[in-house]
């Protein structure tokens, strides 16, 4: 399976930036999950994030639900979420059929698809394909929330500025859900915005780090080998465009620790097994331990910049220079955070459905019987 991810709950992506429509088929969600179209729209808005920090492309991104939802609830059958494309300036891209934009997939994609791909706006590689992931993710996030599982992502670092750590997971996650620019410390937020605009002023771009927390997730989910919780999450997270690294708990900082400082001592707290610290990010041996799941993704700077760059014509096999036309984001990290929430929620719905069965996230009660 190529553009499909998941086992019990799966998502299949389709579409190109400048084709008729993009979308996703979300399959395996339990029957009976309430669909809140306003919430979906609000998540789409967070991804779009129209502001001085983002691209000028005005995408309406209206999600049409073609299947799998009936009377406001999931039916248990595949949910097709379609978003029509509009506001495309295809002529901007003619040059890109044979010129590789540095940092993009033009050349590697050419080696794979032999030039048959839709080169306009990145085609199937476009970051725009994250829109249906966010739409599907909104349904997954709702389903998790109904089981007391909350997911939140903040910008831990951007333009050299760091956000504070989570202090109270529940409060912080709820705050983030209301924010357009997901930074817990508002001073840090201002500094990051300034950093992004400074890069924009230079015709350049910046990267950053996203940190995701999940609370309320049960212990005992994941596999010891291969389908470790870390492995499955990272597999999906690397689909977020520009993500080039994923670390759990203390991550790369473990390299400089000793075991006595890296282990999380267990204690009984409030009648439950708990750990005094959470350096392992809620996962031991690939399996959740009941503590908050915590991980970070690094997002590289947007590769499209307003500067002439060295590149090649990969058909003529000649060196050339390239100034990429069109609209570029000086940063995507603030838009990517809702994608991180979405991907995380989709993976966790899958793992929970595998673990506890296909009814777990929905309602196993007969809706017809209850209505009477």
């Amino acid at each position: 399976m190529k553009n499909t991810f998941g086992t019990s709950v799966s998502v299949t992506l389709f579409g190109e930036s400048h084709g008729p429509a993009i979308g996703a088929v979300l399959d395996g969600m339990a029957p009976g999950i309430k669909i809140d179209e306003e919430y979906i729209a609000s998540q789409m808005a967070k991804r779009r994030s129209v502001s001085a920090l983002s691209t000028a492309r005005h995408e309406s991104d209206k999600v049409e639900i073609l299947s799998g939802v009936f009377s406001g609830r999931t039916t248990g059958t595949p949910i097709c979420l379609m978003i029509k494309n509009a506001d495309t300036h295809s002529s901007d891209y003619a040059e890109l059929r044979t010129a590789a934009r540095p940092g993009h997939a033009d050349y590697s994609g050419y080696c794979k698809y032999h030039g048959f791909g839709d080169y306009r706006g990145g085609g199937h590689f476009s970051g725009r394909l994250t829109a249906p992931i966010v739409a599907a993710g909104a349904i997954a996030l709702s389903a998790l929330k109904s089981k007391g599982i909350l997911v939140g992502t903040h910008i831990k670092k951007c333009a050299g500025i760091c956000d504070r750590d989570y202090l109270n997971y529940e409060n912080d996650i709820k705050s983030l859900a209301e924010m357009d620019f997901a930074v817990l410390d508002q001073n840090a937020a201002e500094a990051m915005r300034a950093g992004i605009l400074a890069a924009k002023g230079d015709g350049d771009s910046v990267g950053g780090v996203l940190e995701t927390a999940v609370i309320g997730f049960p212990a005992g989910v994941g596999e010891p080998w291969f389908d470790t919780l870390e492995g499955v999450l990272s597999h999906a997270l690397f689909s977020i465009p520009a993500v080039k690294g994923v670390e759990f708990g203390d991550g790369f900082a473990f390299a400089d620790m000793r075991g006595s400082g890296a282990n999380d001592p267990f204690r009984i707290r409030d009648g439950k097994v708990s750990t005094e610290t959470n350096r392992n990010g809620g996962i031991n041996g690939g399996i959740s331990n009941g503590m908050p799941i915590l991980f970070r993704c690094v997002v590289k700077p947007t590769p499209s910049i307003y500067k002439t760059q060295h590149t090649v014509d990969f058909v003529e096999m000649t060196d050339r220079d390239l100034l990429i036309k069109g609209r570029h984001d000086p940063a995507v990290v603030h838009r990517a955070r809702v994608v991180a929430d979405s991907v995380t929620a989709l993976v966790l719905c899958d793992m929970l459905s595998q673990r506890y069965g296909t009814d777990f996230l929905g309602s196993a009660e007969s809706v017809v019987k209850n209505a009477e």
Copy 2:
């Protein structure tokens, strides 16, 4: 599929640390790949790495090939690799049935398996299960080598000491293949060894960072979404015990860069498309671009240490202290590097077989006809 990884080439793990045997079934390898049992044994020896730096358990780790190999070559059918267990001191572990070793999977595993698991020596979670991965990986590494694809891993960092970067990939990878302690700079190697022994002297342990390079890998392999090269590799790499982070190319350092410094400019070199730098680690948009694939895994310090730690009895639900008996490695990073090579090779064999067909890694020539 739980303990199975891969689509066209797959590996299925089985076994417990103190059961009769551990092993792997490697399926989907092309017919006609030469099996070099000495090479397999040499890879096993690298993993075992008996020295002052490692555990005193004397595992012979003789690999028995139960199937899938005939007249010294792969048949194309499943290869079962079995390693009998010996030298087990099961009585050391009785206490661990209900006491969670901090940093280990005892408690999370209990939540998953409800106490039915074999608790002796970590059972199925034991790092010993990496032995069959290394055996299977040796076959994968041989197959790749026959196609001009080389894989090598060095210890980039350990005990606070950094190794030098790759200078000449081919030479460096070949040097690493001969080393027991895979560090390119011998001064750094000495300092790392000293650091590990210092930790050992304190009854403690250290972590580190592994850096893997792959050369000769063709451009155009990987998928734009979900089965990105980064995603599939990381999925498998997180199965290496103690790995808590994976980053490609410049990885987390991207967070502090601008796009103008993060992009790899393309140039034609020697008649081939090439990049001037390789900050993206040979992967653009999830697909190989023909440059060396480069990534790093962080390995947390060995959780088993010679110190009394806080923990719980998860059956009695009481706090307690624990001093773990038995033999502990003060570091595993030097042993894990051959596991990283192996996992990488297995994933790449799978991706190549999917891309180019099931005969690609072997010989599509009739062996019988050629013999006459």
Copy 3:
């Protein structure tokens, strides 16, 4: 994966009979396959088969290609095929929310989806979902044809009347491609039509047997265990609504044979390995042997009939009678044959792509380079 089938080439179905749209995502088709929209439309017409023999629902069944096709060829990325629904009389179905139509999935579906499913017109279970299978199958059939592989299905038996066997596979398959009512012997065709109309006159329905032949398929495709050619084909073929049996070669007639009559003797013919008979339907040990692949599917009589039937209200848990309103086909076997062609083609594209790589069915030549 629930509504997805295939490994290297996969198809994901979505939609309900009375929802906004139905469709399929066809992923993994090689880049560069020519898309012939007229051919797709002609296959859709064969499935619709509007005549006295079929339902009066006038479905336009216009296939919209939302993605994965560019400049008239496949791009290599997912192809979303959408068909909008129209001409739905939803009020006909209100009663069916709690009354199980005998022979249908109303009750079994209720046990699975707890009443959240869209009950109108069978919802996701509707035979209408075969429309996107046919659309996807048309692309698969084109791809196979470009490699010299032809697929054809005739009605071997219907209303007690048998069609003749294949005489010349290539000619017969080409003839079938032109027919609306796919019977090789026109006398048999007339008798079948009369039988179907007789059943219709009685308010009843008939079943039949479809026989599919594939020629030009290479030897050496399939797996010895589990993913046998028979196993994978049958897995998919049972998705054709009303199919309750699949047999290969002589199938159930083998039960009354002896080995000396059941084996196909090998002979060299025209410089190629061939068999004198083809009782095994082109498959030995789960793997193609180069002879025509031959199998039959039995299609049960359409369960919707114009007769009052015993049933239950599965919510009230009471016995009741039911006369199903609406439009019923007196037979579906003549419409199902194009679904059989389609499912077969999709499975074979998948198996060929796994065997020979993802470029096999398309063009691995650069389209851009060739254009210049």
Copy 4:
């Protein structure tokens, strides 16, 4: 995945007829299932079925459990079941490296594996590989039985003789469990045995039909498309060597029925939804309806016979004759029935684990806590 079947519960086969060992890895079985080694041995004995009707090869078929079982119960981790090979006469087979036995996979396997396969005794294609399926199936059958689900297979037809239909499923299934030659009507059994011996006397072989029934299986399991209960079962059943057709309920007899006779009317019986007849074999729309699941597999006559047959040397590409040496079964249908039970049980365990979660078939109670 090639030699692996299943999603939540999976089985991976390995081995060759004349290699060191054959076996299977059974993964995903819930923790806490009791392992009854005597029952496993009794199932192995049914498959071996040493008598005048079967091959003279004396296989001891002792199953060694290498992993996944601890203190007499499944741990939840992979169960490796190994059977060492013995009593092999490899010299019998030298001729078969280039001569295709009619009805066997020698030639199709050569096209796939290019002659690298182990040709002795059929290698990986050998019916001997059903031994580990039976071992794994015994565990699956035990797990199902503990949930009140019983599986039984009888020889419905052999040598032209038919067995009676099931009268009382529970009693009949329990009787079959005790039989070596699984025929319900003992007169039919005698006639079948005579027919088999008559074929043996002619140096020939016979085929037959197996009929499997499953009772106690819950309603609501299976998928509407692709992973229909019929599709998944048939996928696996075609791995039973010599099976060339699978039909559910009335199967191919549906071709001659009308809808009014083919539908199963629903009625409430004993407070449960039930059907008056069971022509659909317990499955509607791909999903179980709570009635007994009923299907039949046709088993072709054993292809190895004591007669000279036409064939080819596929390396020399010349016609030749062949008299296959060694020991041949005049029938395998009586041995295959325990394989049918096993395959069925493995598939159903997988589907139940997907539907109800990974603990469903075992014990979700802590074994440690309960012991105290």
